[in-house]
Symmetry: C2
Subunit: 464 residues, 2 copies
C-alpha cells in the first residue's frame, strides 16, 4: 500500500460526517486554529485544577510566545507506567483529575494483563466527549437512526464497547445489549431481532461465524449489513477483513481507541482516519525517539508510535500519551509536501493505512525480521481453511523463535489439509522471508475468545 492509493475517491461521503468534522477534514489551517485554541484551554485548566499535570510543570510553563503547540512540544511524554505509579501513590484514582471527585459519574478499569489494572473514572463532561468520538465512529461506518445495533460484549467494568452502545442510542439507532449471553444466544438474537449492525472484536466475529456455520445458520442471509470492530488490528488487515466480510456478508469497519485515550480512530478504507478534531497527533520514531508533529505529516507515509493528546476528556486528559501503537500515517488528499504550507485542501484527513499495525510491546525479531502479531494474523487469515491458531514465541534480545499451531476446518480431507499447510508455509516465506514450523491440532482444541484474543504465547528466553 502506498500513497498513490486513490483514497480520495473512496472516502466516506462528507455528508456522513458532521459539518464540524467536514470542516476540519477539509482545511489544515482551520484544524490548526481549532487545535491550538482547544490546547490552550486545556493547558489553562490543567495548570489551575489538575494536581497531576501541575506536578508535571503546567502551573509554571512559559508561554512559548503564546503558541500552545510549542508548550505541547516542551511537555514530557506520558506513559501508562506514569499513570499507574500515580494511582498507586494516590489510591484509588490517582491525581489526574481536573474536577472534584464528586463530579465523576463512570468508572472503568483496564484488564491489567500486564499487572495492576488502571482505574479510569470519567466526569459527565468527559463521558460526553467519549460518546461524541464514538458517534463519529458510528456515522463514518454508515450507521444511522434506522439501524438496529447489536453489541456482542459483556458489559463489565472494562470500557470495551460501552461507548458504542450508548452512542448508537444517542444517534437514534435501536440498541441491543448482548451481555451475559452465550454465543448461541447471541446468534439467535442477532437473527431474530433483525440486527443490521454488529459490534464486537474481529476475533469474536469470526467465532460467531464459526458457531453459525456449525449450527447451519447462514449469516449472509441475516439483516446484518455492517460489522464494526476494535480491540485488535483485525478489521484493518486486508486478509482478516476479507474473511470477516465473507463470513457475515456485510461490510466490515475498524475503529481504534483505548480506555485512557478514547475512541481516536474512525473507519477509513483499508485502515483508519484519526479524529483530529478531538485528538492531537504526534509520531515517535521507535529507534531514535524523535518526534514528528501531526501537522508536519503530508502525503509521504511516515511510520512510528502514535502519541496522542485528547481534547474532549479534559477532566482526566492524557497529554503526549505514548499509546504503544505502531502506525503508518499520511494525508493522501494532499498532492505534495508543499501543500502542508498552503493549508486549505479538499481533504486533508490523516489516514493510517492498515490501521494499528501492532503494539510496540508485542514486537519480536525472528532471524532479523521485525514481526508483529498482527502481521502473523494477516498471513494466517489469507488461508480460509484455518479456523483457529495459536503462536508460540520464545523471545530473545538477539533472536526469537516462532512456532504455530493451527486448527483446520473439520470437514477437510487429507489433500485439503496438505494444501492449507503448504499455502501457509509459502505465505510466511513470501511475506516475512521466514520458515515457520506449523503443527496441526485437532478441531476444537484451541481456545476461543470473546473479547481480545490472546493467541500469542510470548515468553522471554530465561523465563521459567
Amino acid at each position: 500500500m502506498t500513497q498513490s492509493t486513490p483514497l480520495h475517491r473512496e472516502l466516506a461521503p462528507a455528508a456522513l460526517l458532521s459539518s464540524y468534522e467536514a470542516l476540519l477534514a477539509s482545511d489544515l489551517e482551520a484544524l490548526g486554529v481549532h487545535q491550538g485554541h482547544a490546547l490552550g484551554e486545556l493547558f489553562d485548566l490543567l495548570g489551575r485544577c489538575n494536581p497531576f499535570y501541575r506536578r508535571r510543570g503546567f502551573d509554571r510553563r512559559g508561554d512559548h510566545d503564546g503558541d500552545p503547540f510549542m508548550t505541547l512540544a516542551a511537555q514530557p511524554l506520558l506513559s501508562k507506567d506514569d499513570l499507574l505509579a500515580d494511582q498507586r501513590e494516590h489510591p484509588p484514582f490517582g491525581t489526574n483529575l481536573s474536577c472534584p471527585e464528586s463530579h465523576l459519574v463512570r468508572l472503568h478499569q483496564t484488564s491489567g494483563s500486564t499487572g495492576q489494572p488502571l482505574l479510569w473514572p470519567d466526569s459527565a463532561r468527559n463521558w460526553e466527549g467519549f460518546l461524541e468520538s464514538w458517534e463519529l465512529v458510528l456515522r463514518a461506518a454508515g450507521v444511522t437512526a434506522s439501524d438496529r445495533v447489536y453489541v456482542a460484549f459483556s458489559f463489565g467494568p472494562f470500557i470495551g464497547f460501552w461507548g458504542a452502545f450508548e452512542a448508537a442510542q444517542k444517534l437514534g439507532a435501536l440498541t441491543l445489549s448482548g451481555g451475559a449471553q452465550s454465543s448461541e444466544q447471541r446468534l439467535d438474537q442477532i437473527v431474530a431481532f433483525g440486527a443490521t449492525v454488529v459490534v464486537c472484536t474481529p476475533t469474536y466475529a469470526l467465532r460467531l461465524a464459526e458457531v453459525a456455520e456449525s449450527r447451519g445458520v447462514d449469516l449472509a442471509r441475516s439483516a446484518v449489513r455492517v460489522t464494526l470492530h476494535a480491540g485488535e488490528p483485525g478489521a484493518s488487515v486486508p486478509a482478516v477483513a476479507r474473511q470477516l466480510e465473507q463470513a457475515w456478508g456485510a461490510r466490515c469497519h475498524d475503529h481504534a481507541g483505548a480506555t485512557e485515550v478514547g475512541a481516536w480512530g474512525y473507519p477509513a478504507p483499508d485502515g483508519l482516519f484519526v479524529d483530529e478534531s478531538r485528538f492531537v497527533v504526534e509520531l515517535r520514531d521507535p529507534e531514535d525517539g524523535s518526534i514528528v508533529p501531526g501537522h508536519e505529516i503530508g502525503p509521504t507515509i511516515r511510520e512510528g508510535e502514535l502519541v496522542l493528546t485528547n481534547l474532549a476528556r479534559p477532566d482526566r486528559p492524557v497529554v503526549r500519551y505514548r499509546t504503544g501503537d505502531l502506525v503508518r500515517a499520511c494525508r493522501p488528499g494532499l498532492r505534495a509536501e508543499s501543500d502542508l504550507a498552503v493549508g486549505a485542501r479538499p481533504d486533508a484527513r490523516l489516514w493510517l493505512p492498515g490501521g494499528v499495525l501492532g503494539r510496540l510491546d508485542d514486537m519480536f525479531v525472528v532471524r532479523g525480521v521485525n514481526v508483529y502479531p498482527s502481521a502473523v494474523d494477516g498471513i494466517v487469515r489469507q488461508v480460509p481453511a484455518v479456523v483457529e491458531y495459536r503462536a508460540e514465541v520464545l523471545r530473545d534480545r538477539q533472536m526469537s523463535e516462532l512456532r504455530l499451531r493451527i486448527e483446520l476446518q473439520p470437514d477437510l480431507d487429507d489433500a485439503g489439509r496438505r494444501s492449507a499447510l503448504e499455502q501457509l508455509e509459502r505465505r510466511f516465506r513470501e511475506a516475512l522471508h521466514l520458515r515457520v514450523p506449523i503443527e496441526l491440532v485437532d478441531a476444537g482444541t484451541l481456545p476461543r475468545f470473546e473479547l481480545k484474543a490472546k493467541r500469542f504465547d510470548i515468553r522471554e528466553r530465561g523465563d521459567r
Copy 2:
C-alpha cells in the same frame, strides 16, 4: 401492620423528593388534575397513532363528559397474554407503538419463564420516562451525586437494573458496572472502589454476604451505606430486610417495577410508595374482579391486584395493566375517609405496607390457608441459621402440599441444628397455622441465584 402505623413521622424528608413529587404527594386534588391531564394527552395520542389501542377502541371512544378517568374506567383490562398474542401476530414487536419503529432506541426482553419472551422496545422519550422513575427511586433511597453506586447485575437483554445504572449516572453518582464478574470479583470491587450503594436482588445480596463471610470479608466495615433491591418482595418483608441490614451493616430499600410498566414503586418505610405522578393506580379484587380507583383509596387498607396505567412511556404504554402483583394499599397521611373528598393534605402518598405481597400466579392453598412464596420467605428469614432453602409445592385446586428443604450454617452443632428446625416449625405454625415438613440438606447443595431466585418448585397435580 395497620393504618395506625405512625408512618407520617417516618417518611423520607420531602427535600429528598423533587418539588414536583412533593407537590403531588401533598395534594390529592393537584394529583387528580395532573393525572387527568396526562391521561387525556395519552388517550389522544393512542387514538391517533397506536394501532394496538385503536383496535381496543381508542379511536372511537366516547368523551365521557370529557372525564379521562371515566374513559379509563370504560377500557378493558390488559394482560400480559394480550401483549404476547399481539406480538406473536405482529412480529417482532407487536403493534403497541405510538411512534414509528425508527424512533426506537432500546430493546429488552422478559425472561420468558412462562414460555415466549416478551420483547419490549422503547423510544428515546419512553426510555427517558423510565429513567425519571428510577431517579425518584434513587433519591427516595437517599442516593446523591456523592455516592458510588455498584450495580451487581449482568447487563444482558433483561431490563433488570439498567435503569438504576443510567439514572444513577444522570443523578451525578459514580456508577460501576458489575457485569460479567464472579461474586468474588464483585465483592473485591465493592470494597476496593469504596462503593456506598449496592443495587441487586435481595437474593443476590444475601448470596454476596454469604460469599463475604466464607472469605472473611466484613461487609459491615465496607463503605456501603445503602442497599437497593427489586425483582423479589424481599426488602419489604421485615425479616428479610433485617437479615439484609445485618449482613451489610447498611440501610436496605425496596423498589418495584416491571419491564412492560416501568419502576412504579419507590422506597417507603416497611414497604413501597407508588409514584402516582407517572402511574395511575387501580386495585382489582381477586375474588369478584371488582375495581377500586386509586383516588378512592383512603386511610383504610384495601387489598387487591395492582392495576397500572403508566403515563411516562407514551410510545408503548400499558393502560389498565394487570400486574399480577398482590398488594395492600392505603394513604396513612389521611386521618379519615372524608379527607378524600377534601383533597389537600400534608402527605397523601399511596403506601403499600409490605410492598408486593406476592404474585397472584404463585399463590397456592395449603389446608385452607392462602400461601404466597413471599410469606414463606418471610418466615424462613426469621431464622438466621438458615443459609438457603428450597420449597416444593404440589399444587391442586382443592389442596396443595408444601415441603421445605433447608441448608443451615456449616459451623452449627447438633443443638443449633435442632433449635433452628424447631424455630422454623414453630414460626410456620404461628404465622400460617401449618405444619410444614422440613428436610435438612448438606451445606452448599442447594442452588444459588444471581437475579431472581427460583426457590419454589411448584408443580400442578397431574403434571408429569
